[in-house]
């Protein structure tokens, strides 16, 4: 160990690598949350659309995830898990909360998609002899998907950005990594700008692609 003259050391290319790795971790936790959350969300959305009774019980539960700030949910669950005997690290706790958060948001999108398919269309499908699930698979899915795909992309990107909050629990994703670097190098603006650029690079192409797709479908 060389004795250094100053307590802080400057930003070096190595740190860019560190940030890149952290960006991959952001991507990883959001990919897991989005895929699992969307699956659950579609099931919840279907439950919301088929039965009013289910909706009465399910909707207020889902609303909890939508009307309590994510950061509060994270802190709550992280402190609640040990009480019921779960041993979760920051990644596990963050992932579980993000999955439920995603599923609650996707549920309403999915319900919108199912309801976007007209009643008469679905009756027509059933009178052609399709079973309920055939109707779901070949009529509701393709039409509903088109109607709500942009909204789903919006939710997915939102989750990607909101995964920054998992840093509060100490999981070293992009934002946490940038904070660590800021503490060491004291180059706040530069590092925040780089972290912002990483997020932008992850999010912007997808949102651009989604809006192109939406335009093409609308024609």
């Amino acid at each position: 160990m060389q004795p250094t003259e100053t307590f802080f050391s400057g930003f070096s290319p190595n740190d860019l690598w560190f940030l890149g790795e952290a960006a991959l971790r952001t991507l990883w936790i959001s990919l897991l949350a989005i895929s699992c959350g969307s699956l659950m969300g579609i099931i919840f959305g279907w439950m919301l659309s088929v039965s009013r009774v289910g909706g009465f019980i399910l909707a207020p539960l889902l609303d909890i995830f939508r009307s309590v700030p994510l950061i509060i949910q994270l802190v709550l669950f992280y402190n609640f898990a040990p009480m019921i005997g779960l041993r979760l690290d920051a990644f596990g706790a963050g992932l579980i909360v993000l999955i439920f958060y995603t599923s609650a948001n996707v549920a309403y999108v999915a319900r919108g998609g199912i309801e976007a398919v007209g009643q008469s269309m679905r009756r027509a499908a059933r009178s052609l002899g399709m079973t309920y699930w055939q109707d779901m698979r070949y009529v509701v899915w393709p039409i509903g998907l088109r109607a709500v795909f942009p909204a789903w992309v919006g939710v997915a990107l939102g989750v990607m950005k909101d995964s920054a909050l998992v840093s509060v629990l100490g999981y070293i994703e992009l934002l946490k990594a940038s904070q660590i670097l800021i503490t060491r190098t004291q180059e706040t603006i530069l590092i925040l700008a780089i972290a912002g650029a990483f997020y932008f690079a992850l999010s912007y192409p997808i949102s651009l692609f989604a809006s192109r797709l939406e335009e093409r479908w609308n024609q």
């Binding site: 009307s67 950061i71 802190v75 609640f80 909050l165 904070q179 180059e187 706040t188 925040l192 972290a195």
Partner: protein, 210 residues
């Protein structure tokens, strides 16, 4: 523990205040940004586009950090209240600008020409023909944005702002009853959001009678 309730409710009012203010600023700036993006070309339009895309494609927390610590590096320091207010307004303006743009796009050009040929001034056309129709389209997205503003203001606890979340953290770290305090806060947030949605629904019934 319930001795803290009055303080938490007081802090909840602060949350509402900063969210409402950021919403007002966000609507004004967002309206300006969307009009610039529709009607203008050149540097001003690029600036507006950059604002909107940056606000929509980076995490709100990063934006808050930028206003809080980023500007601090230049020696510009704000109080936590102002940091949260600026961060939320920046974010709201970006999202609302995109909503407004969609709203303006949905009003056909022919209506503007029809209004003008009936002898209305440009101002009258805007206030009597376009705005009422745009409002109808952007009303629900705006309600959502207001809810988000309340939720986003909870990030204030990370920049030292003592609104509902910050106050909760303050109590939690003083008593080590983290779960209890945050559970109470979660309930308060839930109620706040439900009240906002309820009011907006009542308002919608009054606004869109026809």
């Amino acid at each position: 523990m319930f001795k803290a309730l009055p303080e938490l409710l007081q802090a909840a009012l602060l949350t509402l205040e900063v969210a409402a203010l950021s919403m007002i600023l966000g609507v004004l700036i967002g309206l300006g940004l969307s009009l610039i993006r529709i009607h203008m070309k050149g540097p001003l339009m690029w600036l507006a586009t950059a604002w909107v895309e940056l606000a929509r494609n980076t995490p709100a927390l990063l934006q808050l950090f930028f206003f809080g610590f980023g500007l601090g590096a230049f020696g510009i320091h704000f109080s936590p209240y102002l940091i949260v207010l600026m961060g939320l307004s920046f974010n709201n303006a970006g999202y609302l600008a995109e909503n407004f743009r969609g709203g303006f796009g949905a009003v056909p050009d022919t209506q503007i020409r029809a209004a003008r040929s009936l002898g209305m001034t440009a101002f009258q056309t805007y206030t009597r023909i376009i705005i009422p129709q745009v409002l109808r389209i952007v009303y629900y997205p705006m309600t959502n944005q207001m809810v988000w503003a309340v939720l986003m203001s909870s990030l204030g606890m990370l920049v030292g702002f003592r609104e509902l979340s910050g106050e909760t953290q303050f109590f939690a770290s003083r008593t080590f009853r983290i779960f209890e305090y945050f559970a109470v806060t979660a309930v308060i947030y839930y109620i706040i959001v439900k009240i906002i949605l309820g009011i907006s629904r009542l308002l919608a019934m009054r606004l869109f009678r026809y």
